[in-house]
Symmetry: C2
Subunit: 210 residues, 2 copies
């Protein structure tokens, strides 16, 4: 089974080779993120893609606890989650549904009210937590897409959010970095984790049937 | 590219046929969840799997806004996230690493301290938000695994958490339901969404390069 061997092959890569992933492969990974399902279909996030030449990469080192992937990985994808949902966001989404599905906007009034009610019931911290969750769906899917292309990846939470935002989202009250995905090719020589067996709970510990 | 066509094929299924998914397919989906990467490798969640015969299914209907998937789907997977991380959880994880990798426990002291420091810095709400995020990685991966098997899926947030917990986690101060995944086969006749084109942001809206 492809996905199981892909997931078994991948691991949280610490050290990367200086070898770029191709534009075609990057596009497949980005497409997988674009197709990720999200709550209400709202896609309450953006991604910021940085290659090795990006001038932002060196600036992120300190904000990311000097983790070597920030310097070494071929690409970093920073998932920027929404801190709020505006009337304009919802209108723009309704416009997208209307044009994609050739549906009059009037027919979407019920769905629009549901989104207003749902997002309106949450405070800023709750909206951000909720939009962060959605980025993690896309994060998981992107790692499967990468592994399928034999591209290594590292999901990274260990960063100072305020410091990262000051670099990538300065004076932006809409976006905040939820999580970072490093992509590239493992450096098996320097990365002792690359040869270690995966540690997982037993099925009995993880799975209950009811 | 397999994963892109799989993700294009899938959609948030509302209505399911009365047709069970096979034990082999279910196992592949569960394996993909078990292999999902999680923060610190801690797998701070469990899953509860309910087939159509589960006596818990009818009890969940009201707690899940009477959504038809709760009754109709072949299986429901409820992701139960940890509300706290105990000394015992960390010790048990260290034991798992030690036995899987044949590493003396003493060599894991540094990693163990890091986990203590990280989880100790968070209050209960923050721990739960963090463990919920991890379940969303697994949720995303499980949906890819399902789509690859031509099994439909629905990620479901629209439930009353307190009411669901009272049914599946009574008197349990460790677990709370983060999200539910319905699995099965679409009923294209009853589900008008099955034939509608997918609505997504344009690449320009979703992706920035920096």
């Amino acid at each position: 089974m492809g996905i199981i061997s892909d997931l078994t092959w991948r691991y949280a890569t610490k050290r990367y080779l200086n070898r770029p992933i191709s534009a075609d492969d990057l596009n497949i990974i980005i497409d997988s993120i674009a197709l990720a399902p999200t709550s209400l279909g709202l896609q309450a996030f953006e991604i910021l893609v940085l290659d090795r030449n990006s001038s932002l990469r060196p600036k992120l080192i300190d904000a990311c606890s000097k983790q070597p992937q920030i310097t070494e990985a071929s690409h970093l994808i920073l998932f920027n989650a929404w801190k709020s949902v505006s009337q304009e966001d919802i209108d723009s989404y309704m416009g997208r549904i209307s044009s994609t599905r050739n549906t009059p906007l009037e027919n979407l009034e019920g769905f629009k009210s549901n989104i207003h009610r749902y997002t309106g019931s949450k405070n800023h911290a709750e909206i951000f937590a909720w939009s962060c969750m959605q980025t993690y769906i896309a994060l998981g899917i992107a790692m499967v897409a990468a592994a399928n292309l034999k591209i290594d990846s590292t999901p990274m939470e260990g960063f100072n959010r305020e410091a990262v935002d000051a670099i990538i989202n300065p004076n932006n009250d809409k976006l905040s970095c939820a999580v970072i995905l490093a992509l590239g090719y493992r450096n098996s020589e320097l990365d002792k984790l690359s040869s270690l067996p995966k540690v997982r709970k037993s099925k009995d510990e993880l799975v209950k049937f009811g």
